[in-house]
């Protein structure tokens, strides 16, 4: 077996490891009801360590030139007449880096959670969802085709919603999870549209072939726009930003990796994968840059009035993701990579430390010997007082985006559809016979 073939095995093993661990834990729960917590943690840790070592090996091999980027074909997942859905993975530096990040952070959070969630009712549920999420990110990172990326994207979305609603006995986390999932499904329409269009135009959904695919300008722009729309949801890009801080209702460890590190960075990762499309279209680059800048400004302003540390960090993460979008649009892909990887680690650390914020603040004040004081005061002083008050109000209301998107925009259609259903019910009730007990209300 040569080195390249060995690397292919490592790649497949890395992606499969968390899936196998989830199956093992799921089977244990089905058989034993409550397997020992430390065993669950051990299985999870073994999977993440194995996958992490494999990913590090791949990353080092690619960085040193011992391995060359290639496509690992596992055969068709689906084949019918002229159509094929290939289960192809891409061995690439960016993908390997994302895999390292995925398994390192998930492994870290898995270790953190063994104590954090000890004897919590949802301990097993958390680990299965964590593993599901890790598989989803791994597929997004390693997939060669946009169709496989879409599959990973959906898995990430579902596991994300389930983890936001982790503390399911409270209404707020459940409602926030539903809101986040609504945003995901809304924007996933764009991604699905892009998958099928790419198949239709290119005869396949491979992103490696995108650079040389014979696509016209209009086709490139359409594809790129659909993918950008698809990426806006997970990346919490304006106007979809408000779901992100709401999503921090889940356990701190999952908030850290989902919304500080991995899930939220899946969006710029996708943009980096389609960079040949972006490079060929000024309109797409301007759109991505405009959306990124708007997100950065919005999130920075709104984050300044948050009284909850996790929400403040959520908005800070959204602001950075917006800046990464601007970097990608500007063609600064190396900077975007460094920014993404560094930000993921920093934000994970900050979110995991969030419960200790006050302790950290007191320690810093003791070291400084004085109060830390507010940040950005020098900028605020330059803003006229009247505008400052308006901005403050606007920021407290989170830019009214929630109200616009979920209340105003969806209210009329929701009421119209409910009314249509009532009409339907009323029509059927007209034909009830006297001896009928009637429809249950």
């Amino acid at each position: 077996m040569n080195l390249q073939a060995f690397a292919a095995c490592l790649l497949v093993g890395a992606v499969a490891a968390p899936a196998l661990a989830a199956l093992v834990i799921g089977a244990a729960i089905a058989l034993v009801k409550k397997p020992p917590e430390h065993r669950v943690h051990q299985v999870c840790a073994a999977a993440f360590i194995a996958a992490l070592l494999a990913s590090i090996g791949l990353a080092l091999g690619l960085a040193s030139g011992q391995l060359s980027p290639s496509t690992v074909s596992l055969g068709p997942a689906l084949a019918l007449r002229g159509y094929r859905l290939d289960f192809d993975l891409a061995l690439s530096p960016g993908g390997a880096a994302m895999l390292v990040l995925d398994f390192a952070l998930c492994g870290l959070v898995g270790a953190f959670s063994a104590r954090y969630l000890h004897q919590e009712e949802g301990f097993y549920r958390f680990y299965i969802q964590l593993l599901m999420f890790s598989v989803g990110i791994a597929v997004i990172a390693a997939a060669d085709g946009l169709d496989l990326i879409f599959a990973g994207w959906e898995v990430v979305g579902l596991s994300s919603a389930l983890l936001i609603a982790f503390f399911y006995e409270r209404r707020a986390p459940v409602d926030n999870a539903l809101r986040a999932y609504a945003v995901y499904r809304m924007t996933d329409v764009g991604l699905l549209f892009a998958v099928v269009t790419l198949h239709h135009l290119q005869g396949g959904a491979s992103l490696s072939a995108l650079a040389t695919a014979p696509l016209g300008e209009a086709e490139r722009t359409l594809l790129g726009a659909a993918i950008i729309f698809g990426a806006m949801g997970k990346g919490a890009i304006v106007p979809f930003t408000p779901w992100l801080p709401r999503a921090l209702e889940g356990p701190t460890p999952s908030s850290a990796i989902f919304y500080g590190a991995l899930s939220v960075h899946a969006s710029p990762f996708l943009l980096l994968r389609i960079s040949p499309l972006l490079e060929s279209s000024l309109a797409l680059r301007l759109t991505a840059a405009g959306l990124g800048l708007a997100t950065a400004l919005y999130a920075t302003l709104v984050g300044r009035t948050q009284s909850d540390v996790k929400k403040a960090l959520g908005y800070a993460a959204a602001a950075q993701v917006g800046l990464i979008w601007v970097e990608i649009a500007a063609g600064l892909t190396t900077l975007a990579w460094v920014h993404m990887l560094g930000h993921s680690v920093l934000r994970t650390w900050q979110l995991l430390r969030a419960p200790s914020l006050l302790h950290d603040r007191h320690r810093l004040m003791t070291l400084k010997g004085a109060d830390l004081g507010p940040t950005g005061a020098h900028i605020e002083r330059r803003i006229p007082p009247r505008l400052r008050r308006r901005l403050y109000r606007w920021s407290l209301e989170r830019g009214y985006l929630d109200e616009l998107l979920f209340d105003k925009a969806l209210d009329l259609p929701r009421r119209a559809l409910a009314a249509l259903g009532e009409l339907d019910a009323a029509w059927a009730r007209r034909f009830e016979r006297p001896d009928d007990q009637g429809e249950a209300r």
């Binding site: 689906l78 019918l80 329409v189 559809l417 429809e439």
Partner: protein, 450 residues
């Protein structure tokens, strides 16, 4: 071994035993029905396995009726049979009497015979049987003139189509010849009859109100798409293809607009059963678009989508029925916190629901992939409509799961699945997931692979 003979014998035995089952006392009816239904399901599974080895259609005739077993039958008949078995297993005790069990067995048999039918006589007879059983099921729940009118009209249309075909000398002709020579009126009559039977808009009022009742399991017999696929796949689609009459604006686009509207209505409903009804109809509309696709990939996707939707809607419907049987008809504009009391039911509800939404790893996802790469791939509006429909169905499934199972718990006590319910629901979920992970084993895809 001739799979067609095996299936016909099993169907005849099941039909005959349904007469006994109808008269059986309540405690024994379910057991007898499971034996009869199990026989049919086993025959379907063996026939499908036989087809995997030698994927060549098998034809034959019984009395004056012609039958044919092919790849589509090898996929759809097991789906119908196992869905029927699950219905028998998971129907709540209070709804599971002799007549109910007999109707389920009859429905499985009628569905199998419709899919085996090779001429219009056999097809119409099977469809009439299915109509009769569905009408009886609804009558057992309520007396509603709309139900009576819909099913009576559907029966009249079927008989009219058969009469017209007999007049033209086409009633015993193979479907290929029927497609070439049938007057459009026959196709319109059959199509309308199928639309009435399935409860497609604008004929959906009976279905949504039936499923909004407390006895969801009884209504499922009428609501689930056990029949109709053969009419669209064997008669209408070939006729449209031969006539070159596949106009998206006439066929696909209205159905897809209906699917989006229904999926959106499902997401806006406050009542659990009604929300499920609209989601079911949305899935059926999407399946019909696939079945009527002139592109072979899209057509295969449509047939697979029909089979997958039948299994997923049965599973999800049984989960809804189990929930309603425990807590009554639920208002899903608020939370009910059922998860603590019924975690197994919650898992089954979620898995069958997300399979219905076509999430990756399910058979519906494979079916959707194929459909989306048929002729709709060349039409941006159709693509967008299908994507929106799936998106809305997926959101609604999660909405219903979260509202029913999450939030503050109401009441105490264990309400989880009983062993037979567990077997039924988890069995269907396993079929949906395993079929999604290994779609190459599905007879329909194997026979057309590469």
């Amino acid at each position: 071994m001739n799979p067609l003979v095996l299936l016909l014998v099993a169907a005849v035995l099941a039909a005959a035993s349904s007469v006994l089952i109808a008269r059986a006392p309540r405690p024994e009816a379910r057991g007898l029905a499971l034996v009869a239904g199990g026989l049919l399901a086993a025959a379907a599974a063996i026939a499908a396995l036989t087809f995997l080895g030698e994927p060549a259609p098998v034809s034959g005739a019984v009395a004056w009726l012609s039958f044919r077993f092919d790849a589509a039958g090898a996929t759809l008949i097991p789906a119908a049979a196992f869905s029927g078995l699950a219905l028998l297993l998971a129907t709540p005790e209070r709804d599971c009497d002799g007549p109910h069990c007999a109707r389920v067995v009859g429905l499985m048999t009628a569905a199998a015979l419709a899919l085996l039918a090779a001429d219009l006589r056999a097809l119409v007879l099977a469809e009439l049987a299915s109509l009769s059983l569905a009408r009886q099921a609804l009558r057992a729940l309520r007396r509603n003139a709309l139900d009576e009118a819909s099913f009576t009209l559907a029966a009249i249309l079927n008989l009219a189509a058969l009469a017209m075909a007999w007049f033209e000398g086409l009633d015993r002709a193979p479907f290929a010849e029927l497609a070439r020579s049938a007057p459009p009126l026959i196709l319109v009559a059959l199509g309308l009859a199928a639309a009435l039977r399935l409860g497609l808009p604008p004929f959906s009022s009976w279905l949504s109100s039936a499923l909004a009742r407390e006895q969801v399991a009884g209504a499922l017999i009428a609501a689930l798409p056990f029949s109709g696929v053969a009419v669209f796949a064997r008669v209408i689609e070939p006729a449209l293809s031969l006539a070159g009459a596949h106009e998206p604006l006439v066929v696909s686009v209205p159905l897809l607009i209906a699917a989006v509207l229904l999926a959106a209505m499902a997401a806006a409903q406050r009542q659990l059963g009604r929300s499920y009804a609209y989601a079911l109809l949305a899935a059926v509309c999407v399946s019909i678009v696939g079945v009527l696709d002139p592109d072979p990939v899209g057509y295969a996707g449509g047939l697979l989508m029909w089979a997958a939707s039948l299994v997923a809607t049965t599973g999800f419907g049984l989960a809804v029925a189990a929930t309603t049987a425990r807590l009554g008809p639920l208002d899903v504009s608020r939370h009910h916190g059922l998860y603590r009391r019924a975690p197994g039911l919650g898992l089954a509800f979620l898995v069958t629901g997300i399979a219905l939404a076509g999430l990756p790893g399910s058979v519906d996802f494979s079916a959707a992939e194929l459909m989306l790469h048929g002729s709709v791939s060349a039409s941006a509006p159709e693509l967008a409509l299908i994507a929106i429909a799936f998106s809305l169905i997926g959101f609604n499934v999660i909405r219903l799961s979260f509202r029913v199972f999450f939030g503050p718990s109401e009441g105490q006590g264990d309400l989880d699945l009983r062993p037979r319910e567990r077997v039924a629901l988890y069995g269907l979920a396993a079929f949906l997931v395993l079929g999604g992970l290994a779609p190459g084993l599905i007879p329909l895809l194997r026979s057309q692979g590469g």
